[in-house]
Amino acid sequence: MRLARGAVLAAALVAAWLPAASHAAPATPAQGLSSTAASAPDRPPAIASEKATALARGSRRLQDWIRDHPTVRTSATRDAARGEWTVAFIDRTGRVQAQVLVDDTRGTLNETRTGPQVAWQMARGYEGAFGRSVTRGRIWIPLIVLFLVPLIRWRRLVSWRTLDLLMLTGFCVSLVWFNRGEIFTSVPLAYPPLAYLAIRLALIGFRGRRAASRAAPDAPPDPPAGRRPRLTTWCPTWLLVCLMLLAVGLRLGLNAFDSNVVDVGYAGVIGADRIAHGATPYGTFPSDCGQCDTYGPFTYLTYVPFEAANPWVGRWNDLPAAHGAAVMFDLVALLGMIVLGWRLGGRRLAAGLGLAWAAFPFTAYALESNSNDSLVAACLVWGLVFAHRPLGRGLAVGLAALAKFTPAILLVLWSRHPFPRPGPARRRLPAYLGGLALAALASGWVVFLDGAEGARAFWTRTVGFQLDRESPFSIWGQHEWLRPVQLALAGVVVLGSVLVAVRPRRLDMRAFAALSGALILGIQLTMTHWFYLYIPWFLPFAIVALVPEWPRLARDDEPAAPPPEPVAAPAFAGSTA
């Protein structure tokens, strides 16, 4: 048994070693440098390269940038098809510090790219590049209202609940600057909510509700122990349901008629096509999505039925298969939230958790980008639903880890049983490991489709790629001198992921969810490449731990709460590990 627990610990350590490997979104390569080399001799330029360069130097943004990043030479290339000059400003190391796009016909400046915008298309703030219309104020703000207004306790406005919900929506502030292409502002702004939520969830997980109550003098009195969690809000249940349906209708409509497919969704379709043709996805992707084979095998497998129904035609078109998969991930996660709420606290909590998922703008952001990130959330939510069954728990976390690797940080924590169920504990770990093995068998075969070659490619294309990755989408990537802090923080997270094997001694459902969220957030805090699409990974844990009113934990010297009512209303709280 110790050997098995040790194996799980080792796996978790590997997972923790991959803070950067665990997130997947491959950067869309910049089109700038490669696309500007073409020239058409049959269409002479309207302005000379010297003129284009002189015009480019007039860009205010360029001047601001090269003041701090001196350049030594320029290079102007013309795209005859687009009728556009691209003037590159290059520093002494040969690195392109800025690009200015000049209209060949009118002599006007079309676009200025500075710093990371040169190489990263997603840093340029193109309107609707991610999420399309969902990022417009007339949709985004109503979604925030739909999320906040029903869940806030207006009679206790000054409370942890309010602060927690505001922090969850706090990523919107960062997104505003991201949408403007100002990632040196947007990236740091993402860290306060990330850090707050990680610390808050860790405190809840390790110290329980009593600590949180002490920290909040205005918090309401604790409900009696031994009861189920409940959703305290002014909003009647029928209205919660109606608002959830409204949000779902809006999301599905936007996905069908407005959304685009980012490279993450494209990757899934290509991978499914490869599997359908009997080949491993790893190392076999086309050049227009060359680094897209960086996800776990389960991700590609989930796209197979959709790709079979709408086969990939070999190019990045509307990709209906990606739409179908993204919608399925979203609906499965939504259904998981509803079932989880129902099991934990009845229909009111079910409606509340469902609304929290459906109205939260960043889950809509993931859906309208047709990314695969809700797949991770779906696996983990259903893991919570079946948390009382070790086999189901193991299967869920195994599939999540084989989708996007990050959830591997939960392997140790999820090996613990968060319920006061009678029966021999020694049977639980084998069942949990059986669940993990089942997940590995169900999706791992994809890696070996091309034999050992495929397995080698799997390693280099996933872990190898992510470990060497550089990205401006983290403070660690923007400020290299912070790397030691990043490593130290990663160490703390890894230690935490091991510590949860024995602490807290009492592990109830809330602590289980809170610690899961804290670990995922801890990994995200240490990532070299972080993006808003990753928020749904921890959202279910944060919602479950922060939104309902949980019963007070029994003190160590108190007897454990009575076992739950069977089947219809399993009480998951107030229990001992």
Binding site: R132, S133, R136, R138, L250, G253, A256, F257, D258
Partner: protein, 410 residues
């Protein structure tokens, strides 16, 4: 008391009608169907064979109605309006009589009668330019006959209603369930068979003379695209207003419609939802009837009939403004707290329809935001109306005989 309420409602209807006609609130010559009816009537009286020489989208009795108006000694628009005024009065009387038979309190009877009388104000004077008030009157008295146990009358009026416009067919399963409670399965199914045979008999001459033309009448309704005021269309228009999704409006089948693959998919989905929803209402009613004391089913059945008609209107791929008239004789009669909400929602539907039609209709066709918002509001109220009208256990009465009492005439 109730007879006085009914009479007052009928008089009020006449007064309101005359006032509204005199004021001529909505002079929109392009938004009336009367010229279409007049042309059809002229063709019929001129010797054309309907469905062969004259394409017509409604069943034969509708043709009879519009032709009858031509035989009256007055200008055709006035004659048609007079017929619709009579239908409005008949609807008011039928609604009040049914409310009384259901045991609704006097204030609810008066409110229902007043709401019907105020239709030309609440919905607009275009109610005089469509023949849907005739259908409303038939539905009102069909329901009254069912509530009071006059089943021969009920089935006869049902047959006439179907022969006037096909939509009341959706009520057939519920009428069978209702009738079956008092007269047994054989009696109910027999009555349905006779009613359908009567409708078929009205069609038979035309099937012989012009089978293709009669089939075209059905085909016309099957082939219609997503009409711009339908709930599915409101969903797409809402997305258009929020996210600028591309939409294309075309005029065909006598209406303005959204066309393209997306609207076609939405039309198919909404039709499927309508069918499933109506089936769900029937199953719900059938299950609730098992626990309902015999004689206490009238409230439940009214709720079922109202919910079914509301579903047919709400989830259909065509939702012309006059279709909401069909709801009036049904949704105003529901009891209990949900009945009051259904009443309010019905009034809301009428007023919201009035707010965009006909005044802002062409702005709606031009995909402008304000009429889109009003349309979304109207269709959201329709969805709410379906929810309020949905059959619930509390809709059943409690004063009746035990559930295992022998059925009358079974």
């Amino acid at each position: 008391m109730s007879r006085r309420i009914g009479a007052a409602a009928a008089v009020a209807a006449v007064v309101v009608w005359l006032v509204v006609s005199g004021l001529d609130l909505d002079p929109r010559p392009g938004l009336t169907d009367i010229p279409v009816y007049e042309d059809a009537a002229r063709a019929v009286t001129g010797g054309d064979v309907p469905y062969r020489d004259l394409p017509f989208e409604y069943p034969p009795l509708a043709l009879g109605l519009v032709t009858f108006a031509r035989l009256l000694p007055m200008p055709y628009p006035s004659a048609f309006s007079l017929l619709m005024l009579i239908a409005l009065c008949a609807t008011a009387l039928g609604v009040v009589a049914t409310a009384r038979a259901l045991g609704l309190p006097p204030w609810r009877q008066a409110a229902a009668g007043a709401a019907v009388a105020m239709l030309p104000v609440l919905l607009g004077d275009f109610v005089a330019a469509r023949f849907d008030l005739a259908l409303a009157a038939l539905l009102a008295w069909t329901v009254w006959a069912a509530v009071t146990g006059h089943w021969k009358t009920a089935w006869s009026l049902f047959a006439v209603a179907v022969a006037l416009k096909l939509v009341p067919l959706v009520l057939a399963p519920l009428l069978v369930l209702w009738h079956r409670r008092s007269r047994g399965t054989a009696g109910a199914m027999g009555s349905l068979a006779v009613a359908l045979a009567s409708v078929a008999a009205t069609l038979l001459p035309f099937i012989v003379l012009a089978p293709g033309g009669v089939w075209h009448m059905f085909e016309y309704h099957i082939d219609r695209p997503l009409q711009i005021e339908s709930t599915g269309s409101a969903y797409l228009l809402g997305l258009h207003a929020l996210a600028d999704i591309p939409l294309r409006v075309e005029s065909s089948f006598g209406s303005q419609n959204l066309v393209g693959s997306g609207p076609a998919a939405i039309a198919a989905i909404s039709t499927m939802l309508a069918i499933l929803g109506i089936a769900a209402v029937c199953v719900t009613v059938a299950l609730l009837l098992r626990e309902t004391p015999r004689g206490g089913e009238n409230g439940l059945m009214i709720a079922g009939v109202a919910a079914t008609m509301a579903l047919a209107v709400t989830a259909g791929k065509v939702l012309s403004p006059q279709f909401v008239i069909w709801l009036v004789p049904l949704t105003l009669l529901l009891g209990g707290r949900f009945g009051v909400r259904a009443f309010a929602a019905t009034l809301g539907v009428l007023v919201a329809t009035r707010l965009y039609f006909p005044g802002r209709y062409w702005d709606l066709v031009g995909l402008q935001s304000t009429p889109i918002a009003l349309l979304v509001l109207r269709d959201a109220l329709l969805v709410a109306l379906v929810a309020f009208a949905w059959p619930r256990p509390e809709a059943a009465g409690e004063e009746a005989a035990p559930v295992n009492a022998p059925a009358r005439g079974a």
